[in-house]
């Protein structure tokens, strides 16, 4: 940091203490499947998957458990071989601890792969859309944490004519090192995956951006990418939130993504390096996404490190495998400390988007009572989006959510920089999450009200119609009755006449 930068505070973002080592340097461990696995049906962005197995059914590792449902969704596969023990609700890996639908698998311990995997010796011989189809069949989602179905992103990038593929190796979150570890261990596989993604999207070049606090990963990736001119590996300054899509694209390409648009607007698409590996496994070997590398770290963890964990393993099993606690944790977090979710307890499953499990000791949390804002402006300087967090929070505190939206609440990426630097310990992100959630609920209520308004209108029309019909029927009846009466009267007169005639006729007789 230069003197001018220090005196005038010119840069966005923050430089948190990264806590990445020694976990990043520990050898990767592989966790065997525990006895029971709880595979959530909603572990991707979009609609939950629809189960395609029955309770009691025997499945092998990689067999389909649930089909995607709707336009944005992803398939889910068995992480090991065993028997489907239940399909029901389990606590979700989410701060609320609310239930989520899941397939419970009793592992048989054999860990047998399914025979139905479609392997291809040369995936580059396939059509690009076929690669997307295989990625979709393998249930690959974004491994950075956003969990957007990757196949959809590949296909839509191709349609949008994306020219540059940005590979996110930033891993700017403190504590996490799974991407770092993956790049060190499997650089060749990642580069192969990147080339497959280039092929599938039709982009001409890929840039891998890696923060300069991971020199080993940069070296490994550069060595692996040497043979391919279309893939370049770039070192970027370590700064949080460098791994955020908008910030990464701007740093690597100088292009600014317009608000409310996808990166495709400026001709780029961003994928995580972990996704590249999953894409390769899907395209080359037909292997679905059934396990992932994640970081177990935090002050309360005895042996921090990176572990390959089957999807659906309980956090408590993972922590036990990692070696347990060295102290009672103050908080369990899934993901990084800046944007990760606090867990209500350890009996929640690992999902495809879990990049880390942190057991933070009380001292690391620095929890304090919220104080009054002293308008120091640290949050304004830290905000990577150029927002005014203090003003937004002030409006939300005063129940003026619309005022907060006017200040740019919808542009907030919830990176947590503002709350991290806040001297008064104001939970700014919580204010924004509360406001966004409340506004979304209001929008839903409005949609609901519009729908019910239509129903009420339809009912009104129907009642009017019924009344009209009733009136018509009544009128018709009346008319008929009158007609009948008339006819009767006419008949009477006629008979009378006839009688008369008869009488008259008969009289002479």
């Amino acid at each position: 940091m230069g003197l001018m930068e220090k005196f005038f505070g010119l840069s966005w973002g923050i430089h948190p203490k990264d806590h990445k080592r020694p976990a990043a340097d520990a050898v990767t461990r592989i966790m065997p499947a525990p006895e029971r696995l709880y595979v959530s049906l909603a572990q991707h962005l979009g609609a939950p998957a629809l189960p395609s197995v029955l309770v009691g059914q025997r499945v092998k590792k990689g067999d389909l458990l649930a089909n995607p449902q709707g336009s944005v969704s992803a398939a889910i596969h068995a992480p090991t071989s065993g028997v489907v023990a239940a399909i029901g609700e389990i606590p979700a890996p989410h701060p609320s601890g609310l239930p989520v639908l899941a397939v419970t698998l009793a592992a048989d311990g054999l860990d047998e792969w399914s025979e139905a995997l479609e392997a291809t010796p040369d995936p580059f011989a396939l059509a690009p859309d076929e690669i997307s189809r295989r990625v979709a069949a393998a249930g690959v989602v974004g491994m950075g944490g956003a969990t957007f179905p990757s196949a959809l992103k590949l296909a839509s990038s191709r349609k949008a004519g994306v020219t540059t593929l940005i590979m996110n190796g930033g891993e700017c979150e403190p504590y996490l090192s799974c991407d770092d570890r993956l790049m060190r261990d499997e650089a060749d596989a990642i580069i192969d995956g990147i080339r497959l993604m280039l092929y599938a999207t039709g982009a001409s070049a890929a840039i891998v951006g890696i923060e300069n606090n991971k020199p080993e990963a940069i070296a490994a990736m550069q060595a692996a990418a040497q043979a391919y001119s279309e893939v370049s590996v770039r070192s970027i300054p370590a700064r949080y939130p460098m791994g955020s899509e908008k910030q990464l694209v701007q740093t690597l390409t100088g292009k600014e993504i317009p608000a409310g648009s996808l990166p495709a607007e400026v001709g780029v698409v961003v994928h995580n390096v972990g996704t590249a590996k999953a894409v390769r496994a899907a395209a080359r070997y037909g292997q679905p996404l059934v396990s992932r590398l994640l970081t177990v770290n935090g002050g309360a963890v005895k042996h921090p490190g990176n572990i390959v964990v089957p999807i659906g393993a309980l956090v408590e099993d993972v922590l036990a495998f990692a070696g347990g606690f060295s102290a009672t944790p103050g908080r369990l977090v899934m993901g990084g400390p800046m944007m990760g979710m606090s867990l209500p307890h350890a009996r929640v499953p690992v999902v495809k988007g879990s990049s880390g499990i942190l057991a933070l000791a009380g001292a690391e949390l620095a929890d304090r009572e919220e104080g009054a804002c002293i308008r120091c402006g640290s949050c304004v300087r830290a905000c990577p989006m150029g927002l005014l967090p203090l003003e937004m929070a002030r409006h939300i505190q005063g129940d003026d959510l619309k005022g907060a939206v006017k200040l740019g609440l919808k542009d907030c990426i919830a990176c947590g920089c503002c709350a991290y630097v806040c001297q008064s310990h104001i939970p700014l992100v919580q204010y924004f999450a509360y406001a966004k959630g409340t506004l979304a609920a209001e929008d839903r209520a409005k949609l609901h009200a519009d729908a019910t308004k239509k129903l009420a209108l339809a009912r009104g029309e129907r009642l009017a119609q019924e009344a009209r019909e009733k009136a018509e029927v009544a009128a018709r009846r009346k008319a008929e009755r009158e007609a009948a009466k008339l006819a009767e009267a006419a008949a009477k007169t006629a008979t009378a006449a006839t009688v008369k005639t008869v009488e008259t006729e008969g009289a002479p007789a």
Binding site: F8, G324, A327, L387, E391, D411
Partner: protein, 370 residues
Amino acid sequence: MSAADYTDYQAARAFASPHAHGGGEVRRTMFLVLTALVPATLFGFWLYGWPAFFLWLMTLISVLLFEFMSLRLMGQKNAGRALGDGSALLTGWLLAMTLPPWSPWWVGVLGAFIAIVIGKQVFGGLGQNVFNPAMVARVALLISFPLQLTAWVTPLPLTPLTAPGFIESLHITLGQTPVPDAITSASLLGYAKTELSRGIELAQALTTSHAPQLSWLGARAGSLGESSALLILAGGIFLLITGVIRGYAPLGVLAGALIPAFIAHSIAPESYLDARSHLLSGALMLGAFFIATDYVTSPTTGAGQLVFGLGVGLMTWIIRTLGGYPEGVAFAILLMNALTPIIDRVIKPRILGRTWSGRPIVSADAGKEA
């Protein structure tokens, strides 16, 4: 602990991210600002003797007292802890530094009341006030008691025998002994103003033997903290280096006051003081580094702070040169405090992906797809 102890973990509620904190504390910030004030204050004690120390002590004690009482009145349970954030202490300290050092005790107490109760607590306490409390008190005192608030004394360091002793100083602070005329002295700004109004040109007025002198170190008539420009500057640089303040507001204040002073002096040296006199007189340096940088009452963006500082500097120069008061920093700060909400509303950072007016930017590549 064994691996099985994870079951002990029980989260009481949903915690929002982030789960880490940078470690910044209001208390630490306030402590750093107080530290930065120490050298200038100690020098002031040496320069003006015991009365200055008594006034300073009186102000600080009453500030803490009023803050404590206000917090209790507002139903704050742990008022003692809230007191520990140091904000009231800083307000009192800054106020004491702008008062004439030999003022009677009630000046300090009344100032503390105005600063804490009217300037800060009625708005809701820390962070809620719109005007700088110390400057509110300073201006209110100046308007109410112009005589006491302009009774500057020539420096009488503790060491020489002519300086008042401990007991004698107590009498001065308690207001029982009036400050002898022989040792009162006008500040340079006041002197220049008086002489100009008498029709005497500056060049002539400033060369006479009884004209107040200037020095960077601050051996001149003035208030506790205003005297030593050098030590105040050192404190300011300390705050810049520790990252407590940023350079925008101080730069703005100095530029806003010195540029017009320099221009006016170049054009008509007989009626306008030079930039150096402005820099080393009165509270300009203190205002630039310690008061214009007050978080609560100044804009939050860098550009806003620059505008704020320029406004303070310019107003100071205008009031000093053209106004009825010899010193204008306090008024200038209050005036710009009043404009701060408007500055904050007009000057905002640009949101990433949006134009300055808030519409999404149009990307250069957008046309290509069509």
